[in-house]
C-alpha cells in the first residue's frame, strides 16, 4: 500500500477514535430537594447517566445509584473521595450519603475498570 494513502487513512481513523472517545456529555434534570435533603439520581447501566450533574453545595446530599439489570463495569462503582467501593446490586437503588458537600469540589465516580465515569459539580 502507498505510504501517503496509509497515512491519510490512519489519521482519519485516529480522528474517528477521538470522536468516539470524547462523545456526548448530556446533562439532565436529575437533582431534587425533598424535606431539606438533596437527592442526586444517577442511572448505572452501560455507563453512568447523566455523566455530569450540577447540584447545590452546602445542604445535606444523598446520591442514589439506580441499576436495572447492570452486569457490566458500571455495576462496580468506586468513588475515591468518600472511600466508596461496592458492586451495585443488578437491580435496585443504592443510597450513598455525601454529607454536606462544599462548593467547587466535584465528586467523581468511576467504574472498577475505569472506562465509565460521572461527575457531580457543586455550586
Amino acid at each position: 500500500m502507498n505510504k501517503t494513502v496509509s497515512i491519510i487513512i490512519v489519521s482519519a481513523l485516529l480522528v474517528v477514535i477521538g470522536i468516539i472517545f470524547t462523545g456526548d456529555k448530556r446533562s439532565e434534570q436529575n437533582v431534587e430537594v425533598k424535606d431539606g435533603i438533596q437527592y442526586i439520581t444517577i442511572n448505572a447501566q452501560g455507563g453512568y447517566f447523566p455523566q455530569i450533574s450540577d447540584a447545590q453545595a452546602g445542604i445535606p446530599t444523598k446520591l442514589i445509584m439506580r441499576t436495572d439489570g447492570a452486569y457490566d463495569c458500571s455495576a462496580s462503582l468506586v468513588i475515591r473521595s468518600i472511600g466508596f467501593q461496592k458492586i451495585l446490586p443488578q437491580i435496585g437503588e443504592t443510597e450513598i450519603d455525601l454529607g454536606i458537600p462544599k462548593a467547587g469540589k466535584p465528586l467523581q465516580g468511576v467504574c472498577g475498570m475505569g472506562m465509565y465515569s460521572f461527575q457531580v459539580r457543586f455550586n
Binding site: S6, L13, G46, D72, C73, V78, Q90, M113, G114
Partner: protein
Amino acid sequence: MFKTYTFHVSGTHCAACKILIEDILKEQIFVKNVSVDLKKETVEIETESEESAENLAVILTSRLKQNGYTLSVEKLIQENKPNDIIWKATPIGLIFLVLFFLLQKSGLLNVGLDGQTTPITSFIIGLIASVSSCLAIVGGLVLSLSAKISQDNVSDTKTFLIFHAGRLVSFAILGGTLGAIGNAIGVNFTFTAILGIIASLVMILLGLNLIGVFSKNKVVLPAGIFDFFRKIEHKTLTPLSIGFGTFFLPCGFTQSMQVVALGSGSFLSGFLIMLAFALGTLPMLALLSFGSASFAHSTYAPLFFKSAGVVVIGLGLFALLAGLAGLGIINPLFNI
C-alpha cells in the same frame, strides 16, 4: 559428490523457524545437510543434486512457501519490505479498534437481563462480556500472548488447549468456592485494577514486539524480558496459571458474576454459574487464539503479526488509561 550452497532466506520471524526450516529441508532426499543461520538470514545446504543454485532455490522455496519462507541466491532487498507491511498493518489494526469502540458506544451490548441469574443467563452474559470492553483486557491479553506463542513456538495448539481448559476449570472451581464460603470475602477493586494495569503493560510490550520495534538492532531489548517470556511460555504450568489469572482480571461482567456466585449459597450453584459464564466467553477467546495460530502459519503471517500488534497496543493503552483512572491516579479521559 556433495556440493555446498548458501542461500538467503526471508520470512524468518522466530527462533523456532530455524528448526522448522531444517526439518522441512531435511525431508528432501537430495539434501544431506542443512544449517540455518538466523542472524545472517542464510541457509547452508549440502546436496548431491546437480541442479544449478537458482533452480535449487526455486525447488526448495516451493517446499517452504506454505510456511512463509523464501530462499534466494541473491539477498532480497528487505530494507523496504517491513516498512511496507507496517503501512498496511496500521490501518487494518486501527479499523478493528474503531469497530470495537463503536460496538461499545452503540449500546448494543447494554442488554438488561432481569430476574434470577441462572446458568443460562450467565452463559448469555458470558457471550456479551466476550465482545464487551472486557475484551480490551482479557481478549487483548489472549491475542498478544497467542500471537507471541505462535511466533516463537511451532506446536501452539497444545498450549492454547491447556489455557482454555485451565480457564474453564478455574472459573468453575473458584465460582464454587465463592458459592460455598458466601460473603466471607470481598472483591478487592484495587487488587484487580493493579492486575489490569500489569496486564495492559504486558500487552503494550508484546504489541511493540509484534510490530517489530524490538527486533533486529532497532531498539535494544530490555534486558532479557523476551528471553524470560520465551522460557516461561514453553512450560505447561504457564498457560494454566494465566487461565486461572483471568478470573481476577478487571472486567465488570466477571465481577458481577462473582457477586452472583457469592450470593448463590452453595458450591454447586456457584460452580455452574461461573462455568456457564466462562463457556459463554469461550467462543470469542478460542477464535482469538486459534485464529492467530492459523494466521501465524500462513503466508500472511508478517501482516497478521503487525496488525495484531497495532490492535494489542491500542487495547493496551485503552486498558492502561482506564485502569489508572479506576485507581484514581489520573482523571478519567473518556467514557466509552
